[in-house]
Amino acid sequence: MGRYLHAFGAFWYDFLVGDRPELFVGSIAILAAIWAAIQVGLEPGLAGLILAALVFSLAGWSLWRASRPAPGH
């Protein structure tokens, strides 16, 4: 049973986190931040633009990290 649970957890970890954990953590942080901002009065129309900009910025940050020259280069 433990082996199956471990395999199940490993599947979902690989599926959602994989080798780019910043995308998983960053996406959740962005959604939480937008939710909080709307709760304290951010205009919903502006929230959409900020959400889209943050999602795209997250992709950019991940790409920047992934394309860093290897040490020694």
């Binding site: 599947f11 995308l23 633009l49 992709a59 790409l63 394309s67 020259p69």
Partner: protein, 253 residues
Amino acid sequence: MNVLVAALPAFLASAVEFVEALTIVLAVGVTRQWRSTLIGVAAAVVALAAIVGVFGSAIVLLVPISVLRLVVGGFLVIYGLQWLVKAILRAAGAKAKHDEDAIYAARVAAMREEPPVATSGMDWISFTVAFKGVLLEGMEVAFIVVTFGASAGQLGPAILGATLAGILVVAVGIAVHRPLARVPENGLKFMVGLMLTTFGTFWAGEGLGVEWPWSDATLIVLLGVFLVGSLAAVRLVQARLDGAATAHLAAVP
């Protein structure tokens, strides 16, 4: 439009995953035993159909649409960004492209190291490898079918899109009898990543209470912006890699 929203991403994502599953099935079938391999494939397809049917129906019937869109949107943003970032890195040359021929050769070599096939009855190695391969590749398809189908309220078209992709890939696979190495997998993954990220952002936003400026038409604007930005990102990553290579060469005495 909702029919297309559910069917097209399911079709494209499924085509990619089915090409990868076909490589596994061909490798096992050719080197071991077709009968057991095909039984493994059939068992995996039945399991996937049950997963889509049970989870798809449960989600549609039990989860309120605003909660569904927030959760599904969040998952799609995470998953879509993973596909998109990998596809951009591959397009820019920063990551090796998926090579179905090389994967096929490696799998065939691995299968040849297994114990010989039994002369009669089931070959459980063929069954297990085919079942696991199709189930794991198919789980990604099931995830996309359920999330897109449920969020767009169009589970049927999403299932149809995935089924058509499966039929197409299997038909071509039977016709050519080899892995589909010429399918532009990275291009498809780029498009699917863009779609998942776009729809994920849109639905998660709706779930959070965001008001999109042009209602559903905002999807097209978002897709266009993400597409242009992603193509620019390919160029930027290429330029960064070229710059690093030039600096490295200049530093070599």
